[in-house]
Symmetry: C2
Amino acid sequence: MTEADIALRPPTVGEHEAYCAVERQLAILLRRARTFSAGMGRKVHPELDPGAYGLLVRIDQSSPMRSSDLAAYLRVGRATISRQLKVLEELGLISRSPDPEDGRAHLLALTAEGRRRLDDARSAREGQLRTLLAAWPEEDVRLLGRMLERFNMLTEGMHP
Amino acid sequence: MTEADIALRPPTVGEHEAYCAVERQLAILLRRARTFSAGMGRKVHPELDPGAYGLLVRIDQSSPMRSSDLAAYLRVGRATISRQLKVLEELGLISRSPDPEDGRAHLLALTAEGRRRLDDARSAREGQLRTLLAAWPEEDVRLLGRMLERFNMLTEGMHP
DNA sequence: CCATTTGGTTGCCCGAAGCAACGATCAGAT
DNA sequence: ATCTGATCGTTGCTTCGGGCAACCAAATGG
């Protein structure tokens, strides 16, 4: 039975409850997403706007990369990425050098300053997360991380 | 040791990795949140804008309620809620009746049409989720739901 | 009876994202 | 070798969600 078939087969009662719970909790989380990530970002570095953080993380772990790869990874248009990268370059956090193998593309990389700011932001966010998750045993924190990672992987192969 | 103390105590290497993983995956999910929830919402009911769904869910499970409660629950200002509720009322999905116990407040409730649309949207979203999670055993789906619920509960007690 | 607080609405602004159009470049077919 | 189509990135325009501040109406407390 293929995955598509599984999706078409009518759900059992237990499955229905399980999916419904995920759907409900995901709706809450995504609805609060703006406020939440704004709150994480604002306290960290005022000049580093909340959205920029996600870009720096990805550039850090996959540089050198092109901006269209970044757009695909974050599921947003190239226009959005282009504008945000311009700001980051003006702040001196990233560098855009022409791709030697493709005259159209630019290669992105963190500058030394960019890496420093990213590390600062990351540890500050980790601190906020530690405060939030203070009551959880380490094993549960690890489990949450794994489940989120698995879920995020599911949305990897989507191209709008 | 209080929770605040735990948050202040320097993390062990294992804790650091665990928090770092959550932080990274959460950043990805929140960065994709707009596109993702837009994708969930667009296919469901074109006239029912993505943001409205979260409101209807909450009104459904806690009606009758006041709009400021809704704002607090979703961590957004009363202004935002007010505007979105106006649209929902014009579409005939909710009713705003004056609170008999407080002349300033309005009580929110789903209309019959609102409930019908909500059920449609919910089952459509559940279907999309089933497609996405088709490869997961039911037990993992259930676990994801529980972990998200626990995480969301942590952010309950926050009022900006 | 007046002052302060609270619930809700509206005006104005901002940031993020999509769409469309454009210039530049690459790649494949003739 | 050139022409055609596809791709990379940028910019202008628009939309939408949300915050802030001002405001009104109603409640609460002295």
